[in-house]
């Protein structure tokens, strides 16, 4: 299921200005919620307007469970990256994902499961625990190397982007399931760019 093509636009992105540079530039996206407040853990991706950028799997990432919470809540990886799910709690967890990006389940376990999980398709996988309904984590699997996750100030800075035309996609776990604002065309030059993105998010799920 292609996440990026199906979802109708629910958010509008305002392109501010386009600057072109001969060498790689950086884009800072300021993500705010419906009330205009900065959003943490928002994900910004830049896809080339044409063609496909080659990505390499990243080193294994760890999505641990402690105090009956996934840590981190949002993990940003490239396609092919493996994730481990160490359990630091004294109780067992049953981690699963029904998401098309990666469907799996790690049946009741304690400690570190034997095999890491490889996320081999782009998209968002929502992770849950079958024992603890409140536990949720998102793994965003990117097929582009240019992405960033927003900090508490809502700023997601994508570095070393070669100049060119791109589509900017912004996503946040608070968005309704399987929805994503319409990507915004953006041209990256040598200079740093700043982009504001307001998402129809009211509160963290």
């Amino acid at each position: 299921m292609n996440l990026f093509q199906r979802i109708p636009a629910a958010v509008s992105l305002a392109a501010l200005c386009a600057a072109s540079a001969a060498h790689a530039g950086a884009l800072t996206v300021n993500v705010v919620d419906a009330a205009g407040k900065p959003l943490l853990d928002a994900v910004a991706l830049l896809e080339p307007a044409s063609g496909k950028a080659a990505v390499k799997p990243m080193p294994d990432v760890e999505i641990s469970q402690a105090k009956r919470q996934f840590q981190p809540r949002v993990t940003l990886i490239t396609v092919g990256t493996r994730a481990t799910f160490p359990n630091f709690d004294t109780v067992r967890h049953h981690v699963y994902s029904f998401s098309p990006a990666k469907t799996f389940e790690l049946k009741l376990y304690a400690g570190v499961p034997n095999a890491p999980v490889t996320f081999d398709k782009p998209g968002v996988a929502v992770l849950g625990c079958n024992i603890h309904d409140t536990m949720a984590a998102w793994v965003v699997v990117s097929d582009t190397p240019w992405f960033a996750r927003s900090a508490a100030n809502g700023h997601a800075r994508i570095e070393a982007v070669p100049p060119g035309n791109y589509r900017l996609r912004v996503w946040h776990p608070g968005l309704p399931v399987n929805t994503e604002p319409t990507p915004v065309a953006i041209t990256i030059g040598a200079a740093d760019l700043e982009q504001r993105a307001q998402l129809a998010v009211t509160a963290l799920p």
């Binding site: 029904f98 992770l127 849950g128 309904d133 949720a136 309704p176 399931v177 399987n178 799920p205």
Partner: protein, 818 residues
């Protein structure tokens, strides 16, 4: 009222108690009925008042039931949606698998329709076609479901009302929605019925224009069908609290609640009707009815017992009083009345009744006293005496004497002489005193126990000698006669008493008590006539007795049939010897008995008043004879005796005058003789008559002068011309000096008053001479001539006159011609 009382049974009319009981019960019943009606009305009114509230409560209950149901279904659906296997199956993306998972897992919790929607409410899968129609509902429910609330609605699915719930499917975020439909089943109406006692009917229709049909109901199907026929329209401003509907003749309060919200995108509607029978609600609860009926019944019982008791309190004393009254009626005055110690009205009545009892008893005693006792003397009266005689005879009959001789009963009866005279002269008070003393004397003579002295009435007394024979009776009679010899002293008066005493014995003289008394009476009258001691009854008296009884008739016949004869007794002038007049006397020549003596009928005639007829007869005869004498040349005055009754007849002067006119006789031809006692009976009237007679010209004479008690002063006022000295004085004056003195002083007195004097009872020449010496005017007596028939008198007079002419001295000396 009378018609009403006629309807009452007999016992009811007769018994106060029954009426009290019946009235009490009736009143209590009325009160109970009234209170029952009041309670019913109040309960009914209350029920009507609270009906809308009850129905509202019913709606709340229904809401609550639906909510609970929704909660339950939601909880079930949630659990199901969270089921890992279910989620796995749903996420499998294999439609067949998804549908079978929905079917399978829905069936677990009783959902008949299950649909899976995407996070965007797009239908992804459904168990059947009707479930597919639910998608629009999901949009309605979603806002509630998103926030974790209960999202539930009622909707029509497959023509049946369903409760629809929407739950999110999380993995772990909301990745889709599960919509489940549960058919409304009878549990809803039963729960409703159990919780609120209200009926619930669920109506459905496919479209606003379609008719309603009943989906569920706790009402009888027929009623529900009628309910469905009513028009039910959604109301803008909310549903009315209550609507009154008549179903099959019964009134129901109905509250409608639309279960399908407007604008749910469906044409079909579901309507819940909470209903309740108003009739049943206002009807008094059965247990209350039973309670009231029981109270009424117990109350009636208690009242009946109480009223019976109260009635007995009244009727028992009343019955006792009634019994006491019966006793009184039967003549028992001695038993005291019950219940006098009571302090209430009945006690008062009893005391009044007892007073009445004793006073009636006293009266009875008095009446008995009056009936059987003589109040003046205290002796038994005639009634008691008669009873006693009867008892004595009965007793004598039943007990033959031991020695073989038959027992006898004797009655001695006596009548006082001259008692009327005592009464006349000394007054009734002395008369009564005399009777008392006589009674005492008689009682003293009776020494034998069982003998009875009684006063029969007037001056009549009687003595009963039980077991007394004739000899005993005679001796008793003698003793009584002797007792009367001694004069009685009454205050300052001394009275000589005498009595006629008659004796009769049973069975010698009479067969029964009445005849015995009658015979004794006959004997007594005989004794009075003879005036010489007691007389024993003799059968020969009976003729005389019966003669007396028919005397009046015979006297009348005597007048009519000319049996009476006029006799004349000459009166002579003492100095000349000439016949100056004659006293007229009546004699009765009875056709069979011969000459009846005057004493045998004159007193009787005086008693009966027939004397007046006799007087008139004598007067008329005298007038006739006077005329005859006149014709023969023998002029004289004829004396006619007047009785008391004549004097008291105010018409007497007129009658006499008429006869004078009729016979052409002058009044001067007559001298009317009146006794002192005749005048003294009623002096005023007598004087009036005398004055009139005197005015007419009649000569008046006082007869039997000296035996009465007339005062001289009174005598002076009388218009009399003559005094006739009583013969008792004249006859004894030769021997008795006192009588001579009386004669002399009477003559002197009369002369002094200017009256002429006639001496009666001149029986010999000596008396004649003495009277002549005393200057008496006229004389009358056997010496000169006895009373003789009128025809003889003419002859006698002629002879006397001739003799007188030839020898007056001889005549005066008493050579009588008879």
């Amino acid at each position: 009222m009378s018609a009403f009382s006629r309807l009452m049974p007999d016992w009811f009319r007769r018994s106060i108690g029954a009426r009290i009981v019946a009235l009490s019960l009736l009143l209590l019943f009325a009160v109970q009925l009234a209170s029952f009606s009041a309670i019913s009305a109040s309960l009914g009114a209350h029920a009507r008042r609270v009906l809308p509230d009850e129905l509202m409560v019913g709606e709340h209950v229904l809401n609550s039931l639906l909510d609970q149901n929704a909660q339950k279904l939601t909880d079930g659906a949630r659990l199901l949606a969270a089921d890992y296997g279910f989620r796995s199956a749903v996420q499998s993306n294999d439609d067949e698998t998804i549908v079978s998972a929905l079917d399978n897992h829905g069936a677990r919790i009783g959902a008949t329709e299950v649909a899976l929607l995407g996070a965007d409410f797009a239908l992804r899968a459904a168990t059947d076609d009707s479930a597919r129609t639910l998608a629009p509902l999901a949009a309605l429910l979603a806002p509630r479901a998103v926030n974790g609330g209960v999202a539930s609605e009622i909707a029509m699915l497959g023509g049946k009302p369903h409760q629809i719930v929407l739950v999110p499917m999380k993995a772990p975020v909301v990745v889709g929605w599960v919509l489940m439909g549960f058919p409304l089943d009878t549990r809803l109406v039963t729960d409703m019925r159990n919780l609120s006692a209200l009926n619930l009917t669920v109506l459905t229709r496919g479209s606003p224009s379609a008719p309603w049909s009943t989906a569920l109901t706790s009402l009888p199907p027929a009623l529900a069908a009628e309910l469905a026929h009513e028009t039910w329209n959604a109301q803008a401003g909310g549903d009315a609290a209550m609507r009154s509907v008549h179903l099959n003749g019964e009134e129901f309060g109905v509250h409608a609640r639309w279960l399908t919200p407007a604008g749910n995108g469906q044409d079909a509607s579901v309507l819940a009707l909470v209903s309740l029978s108003i009739d049943e609600a206002v009807r008094t609860p059965r247990d209350l009815q039973i309670g009231l009926a029981t109270i009424t019944l117990l109350g009636l019982l208690a009242f009946m017992v109480g009223a019976l008791f109260a009635a007995r309190q009244v009727t028992t004393p009343l019955r006792e009083l009634s019994a006491a009254a019966d006793l009184l009626g039967a003549g028992d005055y001695d038993a005291p009345v019950h219940g006098m110690q009571r302090h209430d009205e009945l006690g008062h009545l009893a005391r009044a009744f007892d007073q009445m009892r004793s006073s009636v008893g006293d009266k009875q005693q008095q009446i008995l006293q009056l009936a059987y006792w003589d109040s003046l003397t205290g002796l038994p009266n005639r009634v008691q005496f008669r009873d006693a005689v009867r008892d004595a005879i009965a007793q004598a009959k039943s007990t033959p004497a031991a020695d073989g001789t038959a027992p006898t009963v004797a009655v001695v009866m006596l009548d006082l002489d001259r008692f009327k005279h005592v009464n006349d002269v000394l007054g009734y008070r002395v008369g009564d005193l005399l009777l008392g003393r006589v009674a005492e004397r008689l009682s003293q003579q009776m020494v034998r126990g069982g003998d009875l002295v009684a006063r029969l009435g007037g001056d009549e007394f009687a003595v009963l000698l039980r077991q007394g024979d004739a000899a005993l009776a005679a001796s008793v009679a003698q003793r009584i006669g002797a007792a009367f010899d001694e004069p009685l002293k009454l205050e300052e008066h001394t009275v000589d008493m005498g009595a006629g005493i008659g004796i009769a014995c049973w069975p010698e003289h009479a067969v029964d008590a009445d005849s015995l008394l009658s015979r004794a009476e006959v004997a007594m009258y005989a004794a009075k006539r003879r005036t010489e001691g007691p007389v024993m009854y003799d059968p020969s008296f009976d003729a005389a007795s019966s003669q007396t009884l028919s005397l009046l008739t015979e006297l009348r016949q005597a007048v009519e049939q000319n049996e009476l004869r006029l006799y004349l007794q000459p009166k002579l002038m003492l100095h000349t010897g000439r016949v100056s007049g004659a006293e007229t006397l009546v004699r009765w020549l009875h056709p069979t008995r011969g000459l009846v003596p005057p004493m045998s009928f004159i007193p009787f005639a005086e008693q009966t008043g027939f004397i007046r007829t006799l007087t008139m007869w004598v007067f008329e005869e005298a007038a006739r004879h006077w005329l005859a004498l006149q014709a023969e040349g023998i002029p004289m005055t004829l004396s006619v005796n007047l009785s008391t009754r004549d004097l008291l007849d105010p018409d007497l002067p007129i009658k006499f005058d008429a006869l004078l006119v009729k016979h052409r006789v002058p009044a001067e031809a007559f001298c009317l003789e009146i006794t002192e006692s005749a005048i003294m009976d009623d002096p005023t009237r007598a004087l009036a008559t005398l004055n009139k007679l005197s005015e007419l010209g009649f000569k008046l004479s006082i007869d039997d002068f000296g035996t009465g008690y007339s005062s001289l002063a009174y005598l002076k006022r009388l218009p009399v011309d003559e005094l006739k000295i009583d013969k008792s004085f004249v006859m004894s004056m030769e021997k008795d000096l006192d009588d001579a003195k009386i004669v002399r002083s009477t003559i002197d007195l009369a002369h002094n008053l200017g009256l002429s004097v006639v001496a009666e009872g001149v029986e010999n020449v000596k008396a004649w001479d003495m009277l002549r010496d005393l200057e008496c005017d006229e004389a009358q007596g056997y010496h000169m001539g006895r009373p003789m028939p009128a025809t003889d008198f003419h002859r006698w007079t002629t002879a006397w006159s001739t003799k007188q002419r030839t020898g007056p001295a001889a005549a005066a000396s008493g050579f009588m011609l008879h």
